[in-house]
Symmetry: C2
Subunit: 145 residues, 2 copies
Amino acid sequence: MTLRDISIGRLARDAGCKVQTIRYYEQIGLLPEPPRTAGNQRVYDKVHVKRLSFIRHSRELGFSLDAIRELLVLSDDPDQPCETVDRVAKSHLSEVVEKIARLTSLKSELERMVKQCKGGRIGACRIIEVLADHSHAHCLTDHSA
Amino acid sequence: MTLRDISIGRLARDAGCKVQTIRYYEQIGLLPEPPRTAGNQRVYDKVHVKRLSFIRHSRELGFSLDAIRELLVLSDDPDQPCETVDRVAKSHLSEVVEKIARLTSLKSELERMVKQCKGGRIGACRIIEVLADHSHAHCLTDHSA
DNA sequence: TCTTGAACCTATAGTGACTGTAGATATTAG
DNA sequence: CTAATATCTACAGTCACTATAGGTTCAAGA
Ligand SMILES: [Zn+2]
Ligand SMILES: [Zn+2]
Ligand SMILES: [Zn+2]
Ligand SMILES: [Zn+2]
């Protein structure tokens, strides 16, 4: 136990995640198993800190754990061309763009619905009416597709 | 078994969902248990069709099953004022708006990253560099919050 | 040295909204 | 009658954690 040894709690505070999250990453093979103390507690070093930082930052940017797994393998091989890195990032970007598009059309639909509600009885509420109408006659966009 | 009896497969086709989804809705109490044939197979009628349509349309508009459960209870009580309906819809709308905001800032971040990659070796790739940098020095927004 | 309390350990279950599978039974068309 | 299709139950898997229970280890103060 030297001064530079890092406990799981300290690592979690530094990385801004929960202790269980770190154990989870270890369990699914995203973080390597660290050495243990005589009492069986995990001891981390700078290499683990770096790897966990990479994972957390990628998660904050919305990458899936599978994508991150791929990016980690690639980042361990600095002489390879970065085409695959680029592909992973671009594919994630296009997923984000798609999600925004879907949510934006949802937003106009919901705004329209909410605006039409005049605050009477439920039997006359346009919100309920629109939701109950599966023909989508009241709807702007084809959210069913 | 009259002509108007609807099998679970037929109901699923009409509603645009899987058979298992219907059984799942029944299991969590969102759809009432239908009567059965002598051979134990579910038999639906127009009431079920209506209720499932309401659920599916609401799901397409992004409402959670809990919100839908609330909306269904309300829609069964047409004389009540529609304030609660309005509140549920508005609260969902504001969640959608928030999601769009988060994804939009993610999008600019990712676009920036992808643009900076000049297609060399991984060791020099700006995408990997940004992801590895947990200080967020290369980042536009505070996606860590 | 002893004690207390925080931090750590494993194992397991739960989240949301389904989807997929296995193995058995029912129904329908030819 | 047979073969294909549909349905039945029960359970596991998805994603990325999060929470809990019940136990052990560690560090600091008296
Ligand atoms: Zn209303
Ligand atoms: Zn619609
Ligand atoms: Zn690159
Ligand atoms: Zn950042």
